[in-house]
């Protein structure tokens, strides 16, 4: 259950970063377009977050079920992020921040225990 939530959280973070890497959406959120470097970093972070989610999902449930879980949660978090954009963009951003922090914290505390 916790792993499932971490996968969801990391995928959500991934979409937040990938979306903010797009000039148009960066402007909507921060008022200005991102510098090339910043946009690249955001995009890289986005891909890394979902890659991490996939690795965790596969370690948790095997390559077949893990991949299905990862892919399903990737789609759902995308829909969640985009649905929040017109209504609660700031909340969506904070949620990404909290999700990222919480999953990092959970991973660090887990890694010393059972997961890896």
């Amino acid at each position: 259950m916790t792993i499932w939530l971490i996968v969801l959280a990391l995928n959500y973070v991934s979409w937040a970063l990938l979306c903010l890497a797009v000039a148009r959406h960066h402007r909507q959120h921060f008022g200005a377009e991102a510098s090339l470097r910043r946009a690249r970093l955001l995009r890289l972070g986005g891909w890394l977050a979902t890659l991490a989610a996939w690795v965790i999902a596969v370690r948790w449930h095997g390559w077949d079920i893990g991949s299905v879980d990862w892919c399903a949660s990737w789609m759902l978090t995308a829909i969640t992020w985009v649905l929040l954009q017109p209504y609660r963009p700031r909340f969506a951003r904070w949620l990404a921040f909290i999700a990222g922090a919480a999953s990092l914290f959970a991973l660090i505390s887990f890694s010393s225990l059972t997961l890896f």
Binding site: D64, I65, V68, C71, L83, Q85, P86
Partner: protein
């Protein structure tokens, strides 16, 4: 050249989509609810909610099945699982329809039948209408694949508009954004579910392989797939019959995990054989190990060969669709993605009518446009109402009613029919969307109350105290969904923005469309 190609794809997307959209919506909603079919079954069988702990009465259950179907050839018994505490019995009797019942796991007696979550499952794959229904669902699935592929082709800004959703813009723009959002971001799921859905029933509508390889003998085909040779009949009754409880215990021990079902073949012959399939819910493709036991004395005969690779591939694809693996977490993801698919279809139907808003107003209700609008309300708002009505009927109908399960199903159809009639009657002057969504919301929010009144021992507080999270989940989900439908009803109460804006939008359309390429999506 490309322009013409895209245009013809847009035409295909529009019309291939429209003609099956209502059927597809019913299939999608049925499938979404069927993600939790066993959980709904459990909710709808209150007799199972207060089971005392104790041994599993497999033998008593088999005796009940034998009594109900004295000439049965094959029995299947599913032992209780984490999702469903009942014993499920399937009976195959030559010349009789397949019987499917739930049995009490403590004494093996028959549990009064209910339409159950299984109703939605059957609705999902054959619209409750047998083989013709399977063909119709297969056709709808193929057209859905077509609509998905053409949808990607005509949506020229897939990546540019990936994160774009503009509900405030009103009218067709908002509906189209909603359609693209659920369609594009859920695309891998929709493609997978449509493709595997068509594949599951493949041997029903693509019979060439069986015709050529097995000379049309379906039984031989299935036997080859099963990997286990059929026992040779000996034409004399068995001297004795092995204990299923002992076989089950032995199988669980040998497999090191739960058993999906016990199959008892040749029930009345000395060649009686019991097979135990591993549940295998830790693999997408499901269990692959089958243990075989002698049906007379229950001794272990050996393990059947693993299914051949081609069949294992089929099992993987069908497993991907049926989501019996991985537990509740993944079923929730499928449930939500299925709901996104319902939204994709519902918004598609709205896009179609919004795009033709002026013609629709000019043509009036006695026209094709009126038919589409009526069908939209009747199906998209009517079916959720009918589905909740099924749960209400389960709790409201008297316990001693004969054929109670049929009455439950009839309530579903009756409520849907009433909803459709209401939709047609109120389309001209009223707000049928609001009426039907509002009623659905009220019934959903009141469902935990109804449950507490009719089954006090299974009420929400009682189930929380019992840590019965399946019951808690269904009551709480119904309650939460109720607020979603209340929002939909409220949404449809507001004056139609685009009606008033229509003249203004048209006047300003030249400038407002200047910053984006001409919209081609249907």
């Amino acid at each position: 050249m490309r322009g013409r190609f895209v245009q013809s794809m847009a035409w295909l997307h529009t019309w291939a989509g429209l003609i099956v959209s209502w059927v597809l919506f019913a299939i999608f909603l049925g499938g979404t609810l069927a993600c939790f079919d066993k959980e709904l079954d459990y909710w709808m069988r209150p007799v199972l909610h207060q089971l005392a702990p104790g041994p599993i009465a497999m033998d008593a259950a088999a005796a009940t099945l034998r009594e109900m179907a004295p000439h049965a050839e094959t029995l299947y018994l599913n032992p209780p699982s984490t999702r469903d505490p009942s014993i499920r019995g399937f009976v195959f009797e030559p010349g009789e329809p397949t019987m499917y019942v739930a049995l009490n796991p403590r004494d093996g007696t028959l549990i009064p039948p209910t339409a159950g979550g299984n109703f939605f499952f059957i609705l999902h794959y054959n619209l409750q209408s047998g083989t013709p229904g399977v063909y119709l669902v297969g056709l709808a699935g193929m057209l859905m694949l077509l609509a998905l592929v053409t949808g990607v082709i005509i949506h020229r800004r897939v990546f540019k508009d990936f994160f774009v959703f503009r509900p405030q813009s009103g009218g067709q723009r908002a509906w189209l954004d909603g359609h693209n959002l659920t369609g594009v971001l859920g695309l891998p799921f929709h493609l997978m579910i449509a493709y595997t859905g068509v594949i599951i029933m493949m041997s029903t509508y693509m019979t060439a392989g069986v015709e050529i390889g097995y000379h049309g003998d379906l039984a031989a085909y299935y036997e080859a797939l099963s990997g286990a040779p059929h026992p040779v009949e000996q034409h004399r009754p068995p001297s004795r019959v092995a204990s299923l409880n002992e076989v089950l215990d032995d199988a669980v021990q040998r497999l090191g995990g739960p058993v999906q079902y016990l199959e008892i073949a040749h029930v009345h012959d000395a060649s009686i054989t019991i097979s135990a399939l591993a549940s295998g819910n830790d693999e997408v493709a499901g269990g692959r190990r089958t243990l075989i036991y002698d049906g007379t004395d229950g001794h272990f005969r050996g393990e059947s060969a693993s299914p051949p690779a081609a069949y294992r591939t089929y099992q993987f694809l069908s497993g991907l669709h049926r989501v019996q693996f991985g537990g509740a977490a993944i079923r929730w993801l499928y449930f939500l993605l299925g709901a996104a698919g319902c939204v994709m279809l519902a918004t598609a139907a709205q896009v179609w009518i919004e795009k033709r808003h002026r013609q629709a107003v000019a043509a009036g209700l006695r026209s094709g446009y009126g038919l589409v609008r009526a069908l939209n309300v009747a199906v998209i708002a009517g079916m959720p109402l009918a589905s909740v009505a099924l749960l209400w009927a389960n709790r409201m109908l008297p316990d001693n009613l004969a054929a109670r399960a049929d009455w439950e199903a009839q309530s579903f159809y009756a409520v849907w029919l009433l909803a459709a009639i209401w939709a047609v009657l109120r389309l001209r002057a009223g707000k049928p969307w609001r009426d039907l969504f509002g009623t659905t919301a009220a019934l959903l929010i009141a469902l935990p109350v109804l449950n507490a009144l009719t089954e006090p021992l299974s009420s929400l507080p009682a189930s929380i105290a019992d840590h019965d999270w399946v019951l808690v989940g269904i009551d709480a989900t119904a309650f939460a969904l109720g607020f979603g439908f209340a929002w939909l009803a409220w949404f449809n109460t507001r004056p139609r923005k685009n009606l008033r804006r229509d003249a203004r939008t048209r006047a300003a359309s030249a400038s407002s469309h200047a910053d984006r390429p001409r919209e081609r999506s249907a």
